[in-house]
Structure formats: C-alpha cells, structure tokens
C-alpha cells in the first residue's frame, strides 16, 4: 500500500495555494493563466484521491470534465492575450489602467 489519501490532499492543498499565489502576485497574464492551470489541477488531484477513497468514479469523471474546461479557458485566454499583443498593448495585468475608478 502506498500513502493514504491525507498525503495526496496535503499535496493538493499546497499546490492550490501555490497556484493562488501565482494568480495574485504575478503580472504577466501568461503566467497568471499558467497559475490558474495549477489551481485547477490541484482540484483534480483532490478529486481523484477522493474518488479513490470512496471507490466511486464520480471524482474521476469530474476530473476529466475539468481538464476539458481548463483547456477551453486556456484557448480563450490565449486568444485574448494574442489580441492584446496585436493591439500593441502592454501585457501586464497591473498596468491595465484604462479602466479605473
């Protein structure tokens, strides 16, 4: 037997907070997107370890659906980043200052 579910969950929680930090701290939208992927993946890890714990497939199915959703988010996010770069705007989340108030 390998490690029990608790250990998986600790890894998932750590990974989730790493991703959260990345989203909140980084300014490059590309890296923010990458950090979002980490967040979604940590949730996947939690889902899969719980699925193993309960011995039913729902968690794994959920994880697969999340994968597709993550891919979709990346498509739209990258499309937006390319469109922003095409307009020669600065790629910096903090320097989007047109809209403020």
């Amino acid at each position: 037997m390998g490690p029990d579910v608790t250990w998986y969950l600790v890894v998932a929680a750590l990974l989730f907070s790493i991703g959260t930090l990345g989203v909140l701290l980084r300014r490059s939208p590309l890296i923010v997107l990458l950090s979002l992927e980490i967040m979604l993946n940590s949730a996947n890890l939690a889902l899969i370890s719980f699925s193993r714990l309960h011995g039913d497939h729902d968690g794994q199915i959920f994880a697969l659906a999340v994968m597709a959703v993550a891919a979709s988010e990346v498509v739209v996010g990258l499309g937006l980043i390319v469109a922003v770069a095409r307009r020669k705007l600065v790629l910096d989340v903090d320097r989007f200052r047109v809209l403020r108030g």
């Binding site: 390998g2 029990d4 990974l15 590309l30 794994q60 697969l64 499309g79 390319v82």
Partner: protein
C-alpha cells in the same frame, strides 16, 4: 519491493509536483514557466496513476502535454520578447494581502484535512482492477454523467469559436493600424 517502491515513487512525484509548481509561479520568463508546468502535469499524472486513475493520467498527459501546453509554447514563442514581464517589484499591500489570503486558505484546508485524517480518510474503499479503466469511465459518461459529457463538448465548442474570433484581425483593427501608420 512493492510498498517501499510505491512510497519512493510517490514522494518523488509529489516533490517534483510541488517544486515545479513553485517554479511556474517564480520564473520570470513565461517560456520557462510553461516548461515547468509540463513537469508539474507529468508528475501529477504519476500521482493520478498511483491513485488508480490510469485513464485520467493518460488523458492528462495527452490533453495537457499534447494540446494545451503546445498551444501555450506556441503563443509565448509567437509573442517573443513581449511576453516577458519582470517579477513584482517591491512588496506592495496587494502582494502582502495575496500572501495572507493564500496562507489562510492553505491553513484552512490543511487544518480541515488534519482534523479529518483521524477517522474517515484512513479507510480506503476496496476497488477492483477495472477501477479507473477507460471502459468504466466511458460507461459512466454515457449513463450517469451523460449531461456532463455533453456540456463538456459544448464548452469546448464555445472555446473554439472564441479562439477563432479573438484570433482573427477585424476590419476595425486594420483601420486603426492604418491610422497608426499614417500618424507620424
């Protein structure tokens, strides 16, 4: 052999997973971050395998490594130097708040898990060899979770449409470009 080997692989994968996660958020260059994320995804796939989710593990590598990360690298290479942004300058109250929020989140979850660890998490269900196999997953996708399956496809379609829309240059943009060129 079995037990020690599983633990060794697990520790290796978990360490790689966390290490590459930290690398993703701390590299200055998005290209390196993306490469670190590939490492992250691969080590997660190993963890999935150890949690008897073989199909999800394979799909993880196939979907993420095969499609998502290629797309990422393509865009980063396409943007070239414009993709680089320096790391946060000095500590601002925003970053302080972010660290605080993330730490609070982490503590909350770890405490929750820790409290839980005693009773429920210890006894894992017995699963057969077919658990997590493509046949089982497929059966659930076509029966209990049919709606989830269909919605997934709709979400992907919307994303594809969005990618095309945002990726093409519109006439309004071309007009702006012409104005930019005309201006000295």
């Amino acid at each position: 052999m079995g037990n020690v080997l599983v633990w060794a692989i697990w520790i290796g994968a978990a360490a790689a997973c966390l290490g590459s996660g930290i690398a993703v958020v701390s590299f200055a260059n998005p290209f390196f971050s993306a490469l670190a994320l590939i490492g992250n995804l691969a080590s997660l796939a190993v963890l999935f395998l150890l949690a008897s989710a073989e199909f999800v593990a394979a799909a993880q590598v196939l979907v993420y490594a095969g499609a998502v990360m290629v797309m990422f690298l393509f865009v980063i290479a396409y943007l070239g130097g414009r993709a680089d942004t320096p790391f946060e300058g000095g500590p601002s109250w925003v970053s302080f708040g972010a660290v605080l929020a993330a730490t609070a989140l982490l503590v909350e979850i770890v405490v929750a898990i820790g409290l839980k660890a005693g009773d429920l998490l210890a006894d894992e269900a017995e699963v057969g060899a077919a658990f997590g196999s493509p046949a089982e997953i497929g059966r659930f996708f076509l029966t209990d979770h049919l709606l989830a399956f269909e919605i997934t496809s709709i979400v992907l379609l919307i994303a594809a449409v969005g990618g095309v829309i945002l990726g093409t240059k519109t006439r309004a943009e071309e007009q702006l470009d012409r104005l930019d060129k005309a201006a000295p």
